[in-house]
Assembly symmetry: C3
């Protein structure tokens, strides 16, 4: 059990089973020391039902969106753990990109993506502080409320 | 003629001439073993006319979108071939990002991007399996139906 | 004072103070020779007021968008300069991604992003020529007109 896995236990964060890719691709590709992770969606909606459906600014509030982004973050961690064997091999969370299924008027995209950003910093400390960007998507696969793509730097074997 | 070029011929895949950048930028930049490829659009629409115009969920069906994504994929391959000399220098298809010009209700973005993903796996086999993400764009340059950005890992010279 | 800083002075380009991240993340992460820069927004709108608010194709024309993208570009340069100490450590502008807050009908996204692309080429010459992609976002944080994310290759220390 790695240090980060111990930290997850201390924080009472239980990772879900890593999700499967939705189509003809893979969860992660490691290339030149960077791990490129496919876009991940929330595991459960704010009421515990799944899958979540709908847009920020209509079906979901910013506060619910924060929880949904955190949920997507736990899947990202599960997927990275599966790919690397242990989260101790994460040298740095490099970048998050948040695609928020949003209305035309919605303007609190950062507050939503913070749900995932905060999780990364809780889990990895300074190594969890990342670059990021976020935007409103007019629609998202399966009407999911958000998709988060990510890049990690990997400690060499 | 490289192995991958032979494979293209076996598959009866004819690459188009590589498209030119639409503005003040370049098709590809190689940096630290990764080839970053600019967003590419379909070459022809589903009826053979070009350029394609319109949105998924309105002017185009998912099935047409699949073919449009495959078409963009052939331009990506042409551009990478031109940059690297031969597609044999592709060590891995690392990531695709699909920006689908879509309606608010459209929810089959993955099935559209599969047109490009399937092409990559047909051509490169295991090296063609990639990470990816996809989202609905409210509008796309020239009202194109989709844009696909990509990253490849490159075999050193 | 580096060569690029001298060039900025010759071009009468004054960099603003680097903006702060809008939430729980950082401006830049360097990993494996690449500098990943968070999404940056325009500093001032076309009339000099700030912050800019609104969509391309409604509140802003393409020509105004060009200037807004250039403005975001100056912040990107400020942020990179702060991270690297001097812009002379930029080996290459690798990629720009433009997220344009746009209407459904807007189709001149490349002409908008050119404002940032042209700045990079003015400042860095051949090293400023980059890969890029651009799309229309249905909404953007704080109703900003655009966000630009970027990746730079870094000269080793």
């Amino acid at each position: 059990m790695g240090n980060i896995e111990r930290r997850l236990a201390e924080l009472n964060i239980v990772l879900p089973p890593a999700s499967n890719p939705a189509a003809n691709y893979t969860n992660c590709v490691e290339a030149n020391g960077l791990l490129f992770v496919s876009g991940k969606i929330p595991l459960v909606d704010a009421t515990g039902a799944q899958p979540a459906k709908g847009k920020l600014g209509r079906e979901y509030t910013t506060q619910q969106g924060y929880k949904l982004a955190r949920s997507a973050g736990t899947d990202i961690l599960a997927v990275v753990q599966l790919a690397l064997g242990t989260l101790d091999r994460v040298a740095r969370v490099v970048k998050l990109q948040g695609f928020i299924n949003a209305t035309e008027e919605f303007d609190e995209h950062p507050q939503v993506l913070n749900g995932c950003s905060d999780l990364m910093v809780e889990v990895f400390g300074d190594k969890g502080v990342h670059a990021r960007s976020v935007l409103g998507a007019v629609s998202v696969r399966g009407n999911q409320p958000l998709v988060i793509e990510s890049i990690f730097a990997v400690v060499p074997m």
